[in-house]
Amino acid sequence: MLAACHAFTSVSAHGSFTLGAAAIGIPQPVASRRVAALEAHVGGRLLDRSPRQVALTDFGRELLPSARRLVEFAEAVERSAEQARRRPLEFALPEHIASWRLASLVADARRRDVRLHLAAANPRTRAVSVQAREVRASLLPVPPAEGSWSVALGVVGEPPKRKGPWYLETLRLGRGDDPALRRRIWLSAEDDVPHVRDRLVDRSRALGLLPGQVKLGASLVSAAATVSRSRDLLIGTAVEAEDLRMSWSPLGDLSLTRGYQVEASSHEDGRRLRDVLRVEIAELLGAEPCA
C-alpha cells in the first residue's frame, strides 16, 4: 500500500509516469505496476493515461490527500528511527574513574560509531538505574566467572619496599600489641558485593584479624583519604592505585577479583557495549576481557 501510494503521489505530482518514477528512484514499469495495483485495491481508476500527459481522475483527486499523508507519515517514521539511532547511549559506570580515561572511552567509541553518554554511580544505583530505564546500560559487578571483564584486586597504599605480594596476615595483631593501634583494611562501595566483601571477611577471620580490622568506606575517596594519612590500607585495582598516586601490590594469602558485565535495556545496546567496545572497556577498567 505504501509503495503504491508513493508511486501514485509522485506520478500525479510530475504529471508523467517516467518523471514520477525517476523522482522516487524506481523504473517506470514498476511505477506503472504499483499504480495499477493500487487502482485494483481501491476499486477504481486514479489516473487517466493519455499519450501526452497523465491526469488525475475525480476518484484519484479524492484519494490523493490521504495518499500524500500516508507517504509523509512513513517518512516521519524513518526520520525518527534515524534520530533514535543517533541518540547517545547513556551508560552508567563505577564512580571515581579518572576523567581522561572516560574521555578516551568516549572518543574510541565514536570511532566505532557508538555515541556514549557516561554516568557514574555506585553499584546499587547503577543496577536500579538500568532497571528503571534511567540509563540504557550499566556496568554491573558480577562474580568474575560470569563477567565479560575481570580485574584483579590488590592492596593500595602500602609503601613499596620490595616487589611481591602483600599478605593480609600482616595486619594480625601480636599478643603484646595495643588493639587501639590496629591497622585496618578498607573496602570501597564498588566492592561491597558478596564475591569480594564476604571472601575478604571470611579470610580475615580465618587469619586471626579482629572484626574491626576490615571496614567498608563510604566511598573510594574517603577511604583513600584515611589511607593516605594513616597506616591503613585499601582494596583496589592497579588502575585505581595509579589514579590515586599510591602503590599497589597483589594479595598473597587471598585472591580477590572484580567481575563486570553489561546489563542493558535493549539487546542491541548490550551487544554494542559487550562486543563492539569490549577492548575499550577493558582498557578503561584495567581489566582482562573474558571469553
Binding site: L173, R205, P211
Partner: protein, 297 residues
C-alpha cells in the same frame, strides 16, 4: 572502668561476664556476673571437689583402680585418655588430675560414672553455691555441629552457635541451651574458687588437692599469659565450647594478696582459633583486677 573492659571485649567480637574478687576483703568488680552461661569444662572443678570428698568419706573406693575406655580421638584439641587407643587402669585420684589439669573428657566421664551430674550439683548446693548446675557429662559436649562439619569448614559450626539463640536464652543446640546444658554464672564460679582458696566447709585436704590440680593446668593460652609470673601463683580451669571461651582462676601474690578472676565469654566471630579474642579476655580481666587493687589498696 567497666565500660573500658567491655570495649576491650567488644573490639575482639566478644560479649562476656567478668568478675574479679579480692579474696581477703571480698570486694569485687563485675560485668554481668549473674548471667548463666553453658559451663563447658568448668564443671570439672566441682566434679573434682565432689569426687575427692566422696573418696574421703569412703563412698568411692579410692584404693582400687578403675578401668577407663580410650577415647581414640584424632582431631586436635583433646588430650589424655581422650586420645588413647587402648583402655587404661587408673586410680580415682589420678583420674581427678587428668580431668582437672588436662581437661581430659574421658577421665571426667569416668569420674561422672562414679559421681553422677545430679550428685555434683547436690554437693554445690550443700556448699551454698546456687548459680552452678551440672546436668550432663562430657560426652554430651562431643556431639556438637563441629564434629559434623568437614575440616576447613568447622567455622560454620560457630556461625550456627552465634546465630542459633532462641528467645529466653534458649538455643537450637542443646549444648548451648541454658535450660538443658550444665550452666554457671561468673559469681557462682567465684564462689566455688572462694570455697577452695579460703577456709570453708570444704575439707582442707580436698581443697588443697583441687588447688594443686588447677595450678598444674596445661591450657595456658587464655588468661595465663597475663597473670603468670615468678612473683605469683596462677591456678585456673579453662572451658571451651563452640563460640564460648571461659576461664576461672586465682592469682596469689607473694605479698599475700589473692584475687579470683572469672571470665565467661561468647564470640560473634565465626572462627575456631581466636588468639586475639583470648588476649582481649586477659586484657579486660587484668584491667579489672588492677582497678580493684587500686581501689582496695
Amino acid at each position: 572502668m567497666l565500660s573500658q573492659a567491655r570495649a576491650a571485649l567488644r573490639t575482639a567480637g566478644l560479649r562476656g561476664c567478668l568478675l574479679v574478687r579480692d579474696l581477703r576483703t571480698g570486694e569485687e568488680l563485675a560485668i554481668d556476673p549473674d548471667r548463666p552461661m553453658p559451663a563447658a569444662s568448668l564443671v570439672k572443678v566441682p566434679l573434682a571437689m565432689a569426687t575427692l570428698e566422696r573418696v574421703r568419706l569412703g563412698i568411692i573406693d579410692g584404693s582400687s583402680p578403675v578401668t577407663v575406655a580410650p577415647g581414640r580421638l584424632e582431631t586436635p584439641g583433646p588430650v589424655g585418655i581422650s586420645r588413647f587407643r587402648h583402655p587404661v587402669s587408673l586410680y580415682v585420684e589420678d583420674l581427678v588430675h587428668l580431668s582437672t589439669s588436662l581437661s581430659d573428657n574421658s577421665a571426667a566421664d569416668a569420674l561422672f560414672a562414679l559421681t553422677p551430674p545430679d550428685e555434683v550439683t547436690a554437693g554445690l548446693r550443700r556448699w551454698a553455691v546456687d548459680g552452678f548446675t551440672v546436668r550432663h557429662d562430657m560426652s554430651e559436649l562431643t556431639r556438637t555441629p563441629v564434629e559434623l562439619f568437614p575440616t576447613g569448614q568447622t567455622h560454620l559450626a560457630h556461625v550456627l552457635a552465634s546465630a542459633g539463640s532462641t528467645p529466653g536464652s534458649g538455643h537450637v543446640l542443646a549444648q548451648l541451651d541454658i535450660t538443658r546444658a550444665s550452666i554457671a554464672t561468673a559469681r557462682a564460679c567465684a564462689d566455688v574458687l572462694q570455697l577452695l582458696w579460703t577456709p570453708s566447709v570444704v575439707d582442707p585436704g580436698v581443697a588443697r588437692r583441687v588447688r594443686d590440680h588447677m595450678a598444674a593446668g596445661v591450657h595456658r593460652q587464655r588468661l595465663t599469659p597475663d597473670f603468670v609470673s615468678d612473683a605469683s601463683r596462677w591456678s585456673s580451669k579453662t572451658g571451651t565450647l563452640l563460640h564460648l571461651r571461659h576461664e576461672m582462676g586465682v592469682v596469689e601474690h607473694d605479698d599475700g594478696q589473692g584475687f579470683v578472676i572469672v571470665a565467661l565469654t561468647e564470640s560473634e566471630v565465626a572462627a575456631v582459633h581466636q588468639p586475639q579474642a583470648e588476649a582481649a579476655m586477659a586484657h579486660a580481666a587484668r584491667y579489672l583486677r588492677d582497678a580493684l587493687r587500686k581501689e582496695c589498696g
